[in-house]
């Protein structure tokens, strides 16, 4: 209970701080791309006439599917590359070559294969995040101190058991970091993939407002996305705290 109150305190404090910075810079810069936050909040009711929950829901759905897919595929590949020489030999150059390709340039292919609705959106999101996950999982598995395997190997555990009892818990803290980073990326990609083929999503809301040069609405969208992002990050922190109790300092 006290913890919850503290969380809220931090939330409100951070929120006020951000708005203070924003207010000051809007006054100093005095350009209309940075509207005064007070004007923005005056128009906040736009949000509710604009199906705010639908926007949030669509975006969350896309983020969730994209992120979960990336984890489901990226984590095993990353672990495989760290453990198997053969897998590494084949995958490592493949990944090093394809990671730098700007995935957004693959949009035409994504649309041909998956249409312009959520299919291509999630594919692009997946393609961007999965590499981040693969690289960080591979690196963190490589950094595991080999002595932690001693006992479990000596009792004859199979690969799966080692994976579940040693590898995964050992990389969990870094995996959570990687999820945090990927989450940030995923939210940012919304802004790209919700620019086509949809009328819902927080990214759409911002882009739409932007192309209407309605900076008030655009900033309302940005506030919305940043609050949702904040809550998602806190969710991950909460999970992290529950799952890494053993290393809690």
């Amino acid at each position: 209970m006290r913890k919850l109150i503290k969380q809220w305190e931090i939330f409100i404090q951070g929120f006020l701080l951000i708005n203070a910075i924003w207010l000051i810079s809007s006054i100093i810069l005095n350009i209309n791309v940075v509207p005064n936050p007070i004007d923005v909040y005056k128009n906040l009711n736009n949000l509710f006439t604009n199906d705010v929950f639908l926007h949030v829901f669509y975006s969350l759905k896309r983020i969730a599917i994209g992120l979960i897919l990336s984890l489901l595929i990226g984590v095993p590949i990353g672990i495989g590359m760290a453990y198997s020489k053969v897998a590494n030999r084949i995958l490592f150059p493949l990944i090093y070559f394809s990671y730098p390709i700007p995935k957004t340039a693959l949009l035409p292919i994504a649309m041909v294969l998956f249409g312009m609705r959520d299919g291509s959106k999630i594919l692009i999101m997946f393609l961007i995040i999965v590499f981040q996950v693969i690289i960080s999982v591979r690196d963190s598995v490589n950094n595991i101190d080999s002595t932690v395997y001693q006992v479990i190997k000596s009792v004859g555990a199979n690969k799966l058991q080692i994976l579940w009892n040693v590898t995964l818990p050992a990389i969990l803290p870094q995996l959570l970091t990687s999820i945090r980073v990927s989450l940030g990326t995923a939210v940012a990609i919304l802004f790209f993939v919700e620019g086509y083929g949809t009328k819902f999503g927080m990214g759409y809301y911002i882009i739409d407002a932007w192309s209407r040069i309605n900076y008030i609405d655009m900033y309302i969208g940005i506030i919305l996305i940043s609050i949702v992002g904040f809550l998602l990050f806190n969710l991950i922190d909460f999970i992290s705290e529950k799952m890494c109790r053993w290393s809690n300092k």
Partner: protein, 257 residues
Amino acid sequence: MVLVENVSITYKSINEKTQVINNLSLKIEKGETLVILGPSGCGKSTLINALAKTKTIESGRIDYIQDGDRKALSSKVHKIGIIPQNCGLLPWKTVMENYLLPLKIRHEEINNETNKRIEEICKSLDIIPLLHRYPRELSGGQVQRAAIARAFILEPDLLLMDEPFSSLDEITREEAQSLFLKIWENYKPTTILVTHSIDEALYLGSRILVMGTNMGNIKYQIKNPYFGKLFPDEVEYLSIKRTLRDKLKPDVKNKVI
């Protein structure tokens, strides 16, 4: 019976290759408790790790013979319990979870009897209040006791212990030692124990082996008549002790150079 034949072990780093054990052969009888003494850095832990299959050997073979049936020693087939020098508790599991994990992996049923055994062992080692702590919340000696308990609970066929009692105070150590003897009496696991204490070697080893500094050569071996006897006050005991001490000293030729 465990048969170590012509085993060589090396460590590789980027620009170096260090051979630690060269062509070692060794026979450990079933139910024997073999104690290995040796100067620091001679390769005792390396050998233990090789037996536990956590360090790959460069050449040679390690076999397990049971009822005349000779098979390569394997952690999948044979039940190996190990107390590594760093204790090897998984930091993300509580002490209790650390105990249950090997049992789960070996698909052993956790019935009333097992629970009773676990409780008994933990009581003897005085770690009942620590069962729900994570390893980093324990003191050095508590970690070691937890590791001892884990190995004993498993009831392994081959028990490997690398300086298991080094961080225990004398009283606790004696309790742990006598617990080991009791367990050994019970079902006679083949045991290899690395220690630095000659007293401990004479108390717990049915055979004692002294390794030299030279690539894991065996300098001296002795069947121990004082196995299981605490503080024997005989002259011969002291003389064996002295011999072992002498053998532990670096080779004379090393000294001269």
